[in-house]
Subunit: 203 residues, 4 copies
DNA sequence: CATGAATGAGGATTCATTCAT
DNA sequence: GATGAATGAATCCTCATTCAT
């Protein structure tokens, strides 16, 4: 649950070490998946002995959990960025190409599916993922609600529930799409993403 | 590449046996994931010895591949159903609640994410998945194209590329959504799915 | 708890295999102790792969438990032998040299202390050992009681409690003695064992 | 063989440190056994870093050896106490309940079996234990011999060999008994211990 | 065809020990 | 003196795969 697990004399160094491990894990997980990546592989990538990793993480599962937690936090940042926009609704419609491009970048989010799949059968991971999803939805909902009020659009619960879910659904679908069709026509997809989003956000 | 079939005295019986294994695998994969399911688990579920499975499949990976191949075909059936509709475009908009409901049912399709995740790192699986995606896109595209022509809507390549990708994207996102938020507001989501689809299909 | 843990087609063969493992374990445990003996060591001694042992035992602890259980049952046999004697009391006094000799034989009971020590800190083993001790005490008590009644000696609970415990104590002390003084004067010890036993049994 | 002392700037302080470690080890060994106790556990209990312990002991085995050596000396003290008695023979018979009680107290001597078991397989420990046993026997023998002479009882070698071994045997059996039957009837056992001891000491 | 006994490589994890600071 | 970060060998255990029957 808590992020900092073990006591260390020099917490600064410990954090660096933890980050080393998580970065190494990211690479290995991307290459081999959570279960395909061995501790030996991770330790080599982290430049530290396998045994030593256990001074920073209780188990391989703890590494996976920490990795998921860390990655899942990235969404919050996206929300904060969105919040800064003058008109978040119009920004989203206009920035669709950029968002699509970011989502399709195989180096940024190759692990979204791994996380989702793992969460479907690992309760520990599911908890982390669900918590993060709750937070993201609340943030997103608040931003959308404020923006829609300014536009004089309805903001009742049913409306907001559907809007938030469908919008996120559209974006999360991107991670699946790029795996199924790595050569997809990005501009064309972006254009239709904009169309869908515009229809939803402004109705 | 294509499933390597082994020589058997009675090919009929062999097919039955293969199906037994694949059905068992489906159950085990759903419970434990591709890597979490052991051959022992599968063989018990298949009612046949672990060793004997190797008379029908070269390896566990071959079972996974065959399983993916078989399940990925499922989409074709959906396409054929859609083709039968008088007005496919309107049907899709109207049937959104049903489609959403089916996608969200954890008993129907719990393995979509597992397959996608595996395909992201296993080239053998990737090939199967990509091939299936190509076929599904072509079918879907043809259906949409014919329908849009009847509605007098544009059907140029760029338009069709974007429409097909975005529509599939929306549906594939559902598999992710339900894992991240198992308690999502289904009617609300369906309504916004309809809105998005209507905007895309008729523009 | 139950002795037979796993299902096998040929229970006969399985029993042989289990015995192979337990015999090998006996040798290794004697050489290196419960914790010093590795599964690799045991598997080599058993003439079977380490992995295969797990088809017959759930864990190393299960091997230890089975080993303890098996060895602890030996006491029952001693009781049955004793029961056959015409005058158990006099037999025990007279047979002291033989019993001492058996207890001191480093090949028969080198592991009694290992078992006792393990039971002092492993609850699973403690349970097995305590159960066996209860059974042995009850058997021994019944035999002594019947014999003492025939001799017209008191058999009240306090008397029987003390007699049983003190007699067993004397014998279990032998296992410790031989470790602390492997060259002890056996006939001399036997004689004093007889003296002590005679005093207790007939008073 | 004899404890290898390391050179230290302040030998006084070094001794204090060694004692810290041995006291900590006593607690840990009692809790987890010699092999179950880790250096980390011991170092935490000793309030000193794991690495630092190696300035005072060559290895974990050296700690075990030192611990055994230290604890094995305890018996000498008992002998000295016994020597002070006016009539050691009668004292032993009369004090049986107290001795039994002390032996059965799990806080006083929980490690006797651990030491005996270790000595059965670790030659280094065996040597320490054998030496201590020799010394204890000699002391005990001398005390008994003097007392028996005063009572006009025989004191030939064979007699003394048997008496000494059987008496120690009876007491060492207590450590085993209490592990096998923690709820044993202490007063009843004491009474029969007295009976046995009286018979041996005065015959 | 069918079994499941058997293998052995590879997995995560632990822990005594070393060493730079 | 004293620390604890770091190592790496060893441990228990799992599991895909083979093969005699």
């Amino acid at each position: 649950m808590s992020t900092t697990e073990k006591r260390h004399i020099d917490p600064e160094r410990a954090l660096v070490r933890r980050k080393q491990v998580l970065d190494a894990a990211a690479a290995c997980f991307g290459r081999s998946g959570f279960h395909g990546a061995s501790m030996a592989e991770i330790s080599k990538a982290a430049g530290m002995s396998a045994g030593h990793i256990y001074n920073y993480f209780d188990s391989k599962d703890a590494i996976i959990a920490a990795f998921v937690e860390q990655n899942v936090e990235r969404v919050s940042q996206l929300m904060r960025d969105l919040e800064q926009q003058a008109d978040p609704l119009q920004s989203m419609v206009d920035d669709a190409p950029r968002h699509v491009n970011e989502h399709l970048d195989p180096n940024t989010w190759p692990l979204a599916l791994e996380i989702s799949a793992e969460s479907a059968r690992n309760p520990k991971i599911a908890e982390v993922v669900h918590d993060a999803d709750v937070r993201a939805r609340l943030q997103f909902r608040a931003i959308l609600k404020a923006a829609r009020e300014r536009h004089g659009l309805p903001t009742d619960d049913f409306t907001m529930d559907g809007l938030v879910e469908a919008m996120i659904c559209l974006f999360q679908g991107l991670d699946v799409r790029v795996v199924h069709n790595p050569k997809l026509n990005e501009p064309a997809l972006s254009r239709y993403m904009s169309i869908a989003m515009k229809a939803m956000l402004f109705s």
